[in-house]
Each structure stands twice: as structure tokens, then as C-alpha cells.
Amino acid sequence: MIILLRCAGLGLALVVALLFAVFVGDQGPWYFAWAVGTVMIILVAAAGAVLFDAQSAQHTAEEEF
């Protein structure tokens, strides 16, 4: 049941996202670009931090080896 509810919730979020993309993308392309671009910038910055940890862990492993 919980899995079903989660799937329904995610499906609803997907529909809202699609409606947002269609309406805002049509009426306000730069607003849409801001929303997508900001998410992308956050993800890139977060990926950079995770990469830092991975580089650090790899370096430690190489030293130990």
C-alpha cells in the first residue's frame, strides 16, 4: 500500500511538473529556464562536492596501497 501511495505521489508530481513545463515554458520561457537552470547549477555544485570526497577517498586508498 505504501509503495502504491508513493508511486501515486510521484506520478502526481510528474504530472504537475509536466503541466508546469508546458504552461510556463510556453508563457514564460525564461522563468522556465531559471527553474531548470537553478536545479542544474545546484546539482553540478553538489556533484562537485561528491567528486571531492571520491578524489579524497581514492587518494587515501592509493596511499595505503
Binding site: G28, W30, I41, A49, V50, L51, F52, Q55
Partner: protein
């Protein structure tokens, strides 16, 4: 009717510029830091590493100082529209009031409520719930800026409104037209991502300070990495949206774009150079020297190779019939007010698009009344009014250039920072780290220059092509304006001093639990250091 006192108008303009520029020292950092905090906390929630929580807490503390002072300096500005710009508020209040009211709701209800939860909810909320709150703070602060910029865009490109001859005010037609105004869209994204750049360099600069001193290195290296990547993408977005705004100005505000480019005469495509440096002389209407890069201006502004850009002298000449038509509109409107005859209303409607140009002629009319201009003086009044359609070219030209030069500098700086951070070579380049540290104030300066370009370039209008600035101010006395201006200068200078003191104090103290994390990465950081 009270005669317009130009000294009061100038003092009102100076006071608004001063309060807006002071306020705008705090805004960009708020816009950008919130999303950076969200990025740091996202990594904390995903990886569970304590150092990212420390990062969110520390940078959040600096954000809090900046946020409080930003709110304090912004409050007065909303009242200034009523106190110092009552004529403008009466004429444009319907249009301006709506987004401003929504901005108040966003800033004080959404943003402020979630800021409280963000600061005090760390031990009371689950990790995902707190992360959602942080994202809502970021969204709230940026949406707050959105409504201010929607209001500002209405002044630059009035959309979704019309002038009502019965009430003598601009009347709201379409909410969608106002919100989705192309100028509002481009201006919001440009300003918002300029805030991301300011926040990135702020985090990068302070992190560079720690790396130079060898303190809090695990914390600082991660912060620097995230800020560098955040900054490089944001800078590209700022430059892209700057181009969009230039294109919109070319289409809708030709006097602004001509002043920005120092273009006295219509361009000759495709050779026309983009002027890198010049000394524009507003009185002589020429530039005494120019250094330019040929073949750049036409594609840069028009996105084509053969479209000419109208120069300021030609724009002045083109304004002459609009001034005459505007005077007719005002005369017809005055007669309609008195007699309510359909013929007068019809004549007004035929000329109403030029009404603003008629208002612009007020300063040169006998007793500041354009309906009292004798026919034999009409051409003289038109000739005297023509140069008034141009903004201050020197200010607009150079504020734009300083902004652009700084934008290019940020691109290079963030590109180098990203490269060196990804290669883990930061601490081998102390000079570069010093450059990052000393560059902290530059994005704030760039946004101030951007604001000056936008607002000085809109002159002589408060509402472009509709309402001249000199007719927008309240009828205060000069002494009242001088007194309130002095008060604002002292108060806001104290705010700046408090901000700088607190920022320096807490930045020097650094994150609280740094030692544990430095010990957690000993090998990696020792390699980084040598």
C-alpha cells in the same frame, strides 16, 4: 497647480538611488547564498557527512546577518514610493501596487517564516524536512525578488495596462500580461543569477582566506569547490540573460540601448564597432575619443549582420512629431475633463500613445502648462524638448561597461577556480587564492553598475514613454528632502558598518567543529597543500 521644483526632483531621485543602491548591497548575497545552502545541505542529506552540515550552518550564519540587514534596508524603500513619489504612485499605483503587495507577502510571510524554521529547526525537524525548508527559503527569497522585478519591468516596458482618461491613471488590464512581461522574465533571471555569482565569490573568497592561512582546510576546500562550480555556470547564465536584456532594450527602449553603446548616429552595419572606451559629452552630443572593435556591434545587439541601430540624434529627430502629438493629446484631455465632449475624447485617443512626450514638454511650456503654448512658440518648445528624451549618456555608457568588464573577469576567475579545484591544486597557487579573496566585493559592485545602467538608461521616464520622472515626485520642500536624505545616509552607513563588522567577525572565527573534519582528510589535504 504646484510648479515642479527641479531641485526637489533631483533630491528625490538621489535619495531613491542611494537607498536602492544601499539595499542592493545585501540582496544579491541573499538570493544566491540560499541556493548554495540548499546545495550544501542536499549533499549532507544524501551522503550523511557531517562536514556538509557544518558548511550549511556556517554559511547560513553569514546569510542570516546579511538577510536581517537586507530586510531592514528594503522596508523604507516601499514607503518611499508614497512619500517621495506620490505623483508616480497616483498615476501608476494600480500597476505597481499589485506586484509590490505580493512581494510583501512573499518576503514577510513565506521567506521570513521559513528562515526561522531553517535556523531553529536543525534539531527539531527530520533531515529531509529541514532540507525542504531550506529550499523553500531559497525559493521565497528569489520569488520575493521576482515581484520587485515584475514591478520594475512594468516601468521599463508597460505591459498589461492602459491609460484611463476618466481617472487619469494607468489601469490594470491583465495580471498574466504583467507577470509574463518579457522584460520581467529576463530581468528576474539576470538579477537572480547575478546573486548566485555574488554568493559564489563570497563563499570562494572566504574559503580562499582559510586555505591561505591553512585553517579549516577540509571545510574550505569543499566550500571552494562547490562555489567555483556554482559560480561558473551562474556567470554563463548572467551573460546569456544580459544579451537577452540588450535585445529587449533594442526593441523597446531604443534611447537606452543607444546611450549604452554611445551611439550618437545611426550605425552602419556590418562594420560598426563595439565601443570599448569613449568619453561621451552629453552637452555637445558627441564622444571626444573612441576605441572600438569593428564588426561587433550589429550582431551583438540585433543578432543580424545588416540591421542598423538608430542613433541618439536620429531618435531625437523622430521624437519631434511625437512631442507635437503628445501636446495635442494633453490639450484634448484637458478639454474633455471640462466639457466631456466625444470629439475631444476621440482626439485624445488618436494621440494618446504620445501623451508622455507631451508631458515631457511641460518643463519648457509657459507656466509649465502645455495647453498654454502659443502656436508661434510650439516649434521652439518642441526643439527644446527633443534633447530631453535622452538619458545621461556618460553615466549609462560607463556603468554598463564596468558591469560587462567585471562579468568577463568573473567568467575567467570562476573557470580558473573550477579547474584548479577539480585538479586539487588550489593551495599551490596562493596568488590566485588572494585574488579570489580580494574579489569578494566585485560582484556586488557589478550588480550596482547593472542597476545604474537599467535605471539611468530609462531616464527621462519613470514609466517608459508614459510618465516623465520630473512629473513623478512629491511636492516636498528642499529642506525636507535634504534632512531625510542626510538621515538615510547616516542610518544606512551604520547598517553597512554593522554588516561589515559582523561579517568580518564571524568569518574570522570560522566554522565551529572544523578540527574533526581536518583530521578526517589528512592525507588528501597534505597532498593538496604541497
Amino acid at each position: 497647480m504646484d510648479l515642479i521644483n527641479p531641485t526637489v526632483v533631483d533630491l528625490s531621485r538621489f535619495q531613491f538611488a542611494l537607498t536602492a543602491l544601499y539595499h542592493f548591497m545585501f540582496v544579491p548575497l541573499t538570493l544566491g547564498l540560499t541556493f548554495m545552502l540548499a546545495a550544501m545541505e542536499t549533499v549532507y542529506v544524501v551522503t550523511g557527512k557531517q562536514v556538509y552540515k557544518e558548511m550549511a550552518l556556517f554559511w547560513g550564519k553569514l546569510f542570516g546577518i546579511n538577510f536581517a540587514l537586507g530586510v531592514a534596508t528594503g522596508l523604507t524603500m516601499e514607503f518611499e514610493f508614497g512619500t517621495n513619489w506620490s505623483m508616480y504612485s497616483r498615476f501608476f499605483g494600480d500597476m505597481f501596487g499589485t506586484p509590490l503587495a505580493i512581494e510583501g507577502l512573499m518576503a514577510f510571510f513565506m521567506e521570513s517564516t521559513f528562515v526561522g524554521l531553517m535556523f531553529f529547526g536543525w534539531d527539531r525537524l527530520s533531515k529531509p524536512a529541514h532540507l525542504a525548508i531550506t529550499y523553500l527559503v531559497a525559493l521565497g527569497s528569489n520569488l520575493s525578488a521576482l515581484w520587485i522585478l515584475v514591478a520594475n519591468a512594468s516601468m521599463n516596458m508597460p505591459n498589461g495596462a492602459h491609460f484611463d482618461p476618466e481617472t487619469l491613471r494607468m489601469t490594470f488590464d491583465s495580471f498574466v500580461g504583467v507577470v509574463f512581461n518579457p522584460d520581467a522574465q529576463a530581468k528576474f533571471v539576470h538579477t537572480s543569477v547575478a546573486g548566485y555569482v555574488a554568493a559564489s565569490l563570497f563563499v570562494m573568497g572566504i574559503s580562499a582566506f582559510y586555505l591561505l592561512r591553512g585553517e579549516h582546510r577540509a571545510f574550505a576546500a569543499r566550500s571552494f569547490r562547490m562555489a567555483a562550480l556554482f559560480g561558473i555556470f551562474s556567470t554563463v547564465a548572467v551573460i546569456t540573460l544580459g544579451d537577452v536584456l540588450g535585445r529587449l532594450d533594442y526593441e523597446h527602449q531604443p534611447t537606452k540601448i543607444a546611450a549604452i553603446e554611445g551611439l550618437w548616429h545611426t550605425s552602419k552595419p556590418p562594420y560598426e564597432p563595439w565601443i570599448v572606451a569613449a568619453l561621451p559629452n552629453d552637452e555637445k552630443q558627441e564622444s571626444s575619443f573612441e576605441i572600438g572593435v569593428p564588426f561587433v556591434l550589429t550582431p551583438l545587439i540585433t543578432h543580424s549582420f545588416n540591421t542598423p541601430i538608430t542613433g541618439m540624434i536620429e531618435l531625437e529627430d523622430a521624437a519631434a512629431p511625437r512631442i507635437a502629438s503628445g501636446i495635442k493629446a494633453i490639450s484634448a484631455l484637458r478639454r474633455y475633463e471640462e466639457n466631456h465632449l466625444a470629439a475631444d475624447l476621440e482626439e485624445f485617443h488618436a494621440n494618446q500613445n504620445d501623451m508622455g512626450y507631451g508631458l515631457l514638454a511641460t518643463r519648457h511650456a509657459p507656466n509649465q502648462d502645455v495647453t498654454a503654448i502659443p502656436p508661434e512658440q510650439l516649434q521652439t518648445v518642441i526643439d527644446q524638448t527633443k534633447p530631453d528624451i535622452l538619458p545621461n549618456v556618460f553615466v549609462t555608457f560607463w556603468s554598463f561597461r564596468f558591469m560587462v568588464f567585471l562579468g568577463v573577469f568573473f567568467f575567467v576567475l570562476f573557470a580558473m577556480a573550477s579547474y584548479l579545484s577539480l585538479k586539487n591544486q588550489l593551495e599551490r597557487n596562493p596568488l590566485f587564492l588572494k585574488l579570489c579573496m580580494w574579489s569578494i566585493p566585485l560582484p556586488i559592485l557589478a550588480t550596482e553598475f547593472g542597476w545604474i545602467t537599467a535605471e539611468a538608461g530609462r531616464q527621462p521616464w519613470t514609466v517608459f514613454d508614459r510618465l516623465p520622472t520630473f512629473m513623478s515626485a512629491s511636492t516636498h520642500s528642499v529642506s525636507y528632502m535634504v534632512f531625510s536624505l542626510a538621515g538615510f545616509t547616516v542610518l544606512y552607513s551604520i547598517f553597512i558598518a554593522v554588516e561589515l563588522y559582523l561579517m568580518f567577525k564571524f568569518a574570522r572565527l570560522g566554522p565551529e567543529a572544523h578540527d574533526q573534519h581536518d583530521n578526517a582528510d589528512p592525507v588528501h589535504l597534505s597532498v593538496v597543500a604541497h
